[in-house]
Symmetry: C2
Subunit: 352 residues, 2 copies
């Protein structure tokens, strides 16, 4: 593909992303390629269409980029957009230390992304599997039930009710609770699940409780609904493709199901930092006319979750990717800063 073809393709995609109307040869020569005539551009456009990058609804309607064009655009043509100073300020101001626990942090990240991009944002919290259990307890609730709570340093990892034998006194439960904390403390959720045999032995008389706990641990393998958040669903109406009720319907059917959100956000290759899915071709759960751009963040070796936006195929990929990248950086700094602070604190303690 010639440089001029690339340039023209870039112009078409940029223009279409901006205006949402099919772009014509005339518009291209008037605004961008002033040194050639519209006829020349027409020839190039016809050729780009043959290559599969452009489509026409009808002969007199200008051209529109195909999903293939967007992919090429993102990989080669797009200007890696820099954010405005205001946007950068907004990001750095948004994540203050007060967002101490991960639950809140996830929500505020999702909100920031949605606000800055003007698209609906989706997020899936940190993968719980590899987080270290900091503490664990069984809280008696009466009527033969107890609440099992597992926390890390920064969040409630999981909680759920389990049945306990009626014969167990509150003191017995407290004892069992201590054993659990000792047994599982410091382990990752995935490791915790593997101590089964050993644990059952140690528990002796409370074998049944342990069985229930193991059962609960197993059910924690998939993300909870609360770990999947959505921000700014109404943002969809800011984009003209969603004047069409059918598109809104598709969109809503996806975002109102946490399972589907998890599906389209979740199943990505760990190697890839930023992942773009364009239309149903890339993921059957993404509606025909939608794109999903996600980024997986981690800091200090710790997974911080996957965040992204869902919006029309005609998405401002440059802006979206810039926002995702900068939010990632801010998050990394926040977490690293905190770690360092803690290290300092610990150091001070040791120095005493």
């Amino acid at each position: 593909m010639s440089d001029r073809k690339k340039r023209i393709l870039q112009i078409v995609v940029d223009e279409y992303i901006n205006s949402a109307v099919p772009v014509s040869s005339k518009a291209i020569t008037e605004k961008h390629l002033t040194d050639v005539s519209s006829a020349t551009v027409r020839n190039e456009l016809a050729s780009l269409e043959e290559l599969g990058y452009l489509t026409q609804f009808h002969t007199s309607g200008g051209r529109v980029p195909s999903p293939q064009a967007y992919r090429f655009y993102i990989e080669e043509l797009m200007q890696r957009g820099n954010l405005s100073a205001a946007d950068l300020d907004y990001i750095s101001g948004a994540f203050s230390d007060k967002t101490a626990d991960v639950e809140h942090l996830i929500k505020s990240v999702a909100n920031v992304i949605s606000d800055l991009t003007d698209y609906t944002s989706v997020a899936i919290g940190p993968n719980a599997e590899e987080e270290r259990i900091r503490n664990m307890t069984l809280l008696p609730c009466g009527d033969g039930r107890a609440l099992l709570v597992i926390v890390t340093g920064s969040r409630i990892l999981r909680d759920s009710f389990i049945d306990i034998p009626e014969s167990m006194s509150d003191e017995d439960v407290a004892g069992a609770s201590h054993m659990l904390a000792k047994l599982f403390g410091g382990k990752a959720l995935s490791e915790a699940r593997e101590v089964e045999a050993e644990a059952l032995g140690e528990f002796g008389q409370y074998r049944q409780v342990m069985t229930e706990v193991i059962e609960a641990l197993k059910s924690y393998a998939r993300p909870r609904d609360e770990d999947i958040v959505l921000a700014g669903p109404e943002k969809i109406f800011n984009h003209p493709e969603y004047e069409d009720i059918g598109n809104v319907k598709n969109f809503l059917s996806v975002i109102s199901s946490k399972d589907k959100i998890a599906e389209i956000v979740g199943d990505e290759d760990d190697e890839i930092q930023i992942n773009v899915k364009i239309g149903s071709a890339d993921d059957k759960d993404v509606p025909e006319d939608c794109s999903v751009v996600t980024a997986t963040y981690s800091a200090g070796g710790k997974n911080l979750g996957t965040y992204g936006v869902i919006g029309p195929i005609r998405m401002d990929y440059s802006k979206v990717i810039a926002v995702l990248e900068n939010v990632g950086k801010a998050l990394e700094e926040l977490v690293d800063g905190k770690n360092n602070k803690n290290k300092d604190k610990n150091k001070e303690k040791n120095d005493e």
Copy 2:
């Protein structure tokens, strides 16, 4: 208002709810009032319009009920609908004992209501204020933080992270935790908030922790986002008024904000069991073209939350109210049954 006027108004509302098209005098005489002529009905219709019960978009377009008509319809005209055997079966099958904790119960109630009515359902969980604290604990998480968990017999009442002095050892926290459980166990959340003075004295060296706990208790006054659930948002598309993008927009702007949902579901008179809000006139947060029907359930003196549907003004009030009533009955039976079972259990224990 004459009996015939009432009958005609009833026919108009029934017909319009069913068909969503303005109803004409001819339709009324053909299908329902076969003993009078359409001209007579026209006179009555004109009179009902003057009374404010009916409106016309244009002279040749049939008539449509006004909000005032719906109110009158619900209070006097509507046939208190009985549910089909299938619907009743569905309800009684939906709430089995396995939905042990309140969180799941709320969700399943919301789903049942949405499924049976074909409208989007909204629910707000049991009012936490008067529930008795069954247990309470502080779980150390490191880095000067601890998780405060409060449970009743059937659910996690509240949880949140609080700061603790770095100097507190895990054992100290455990001690404080015991004191908390003793101090607050058996109290309602609203009562717990009032023990401030006494508590601060008892806590001695851990005064600061207690201050944080009190602070947390105070923040628990309003419902958590998780206590507000929504089921079947996509159901809205099953009703023709939501072919219009503007209406969908209004609708989505309300249901995507938990605060707004809480507002329209929450602020009702405790005296009223079933509450109907028709359009913005009854509640400024209800969109112009929407109605909200809610019911507050309680069983054994315990508040079980408020449930309802949000949908077009042209709502099948009879069906909706029947579903809400029957779901309420089923829920009451479920909870009473459980209480009895527990009483039985306790009795057996005492008999031993």
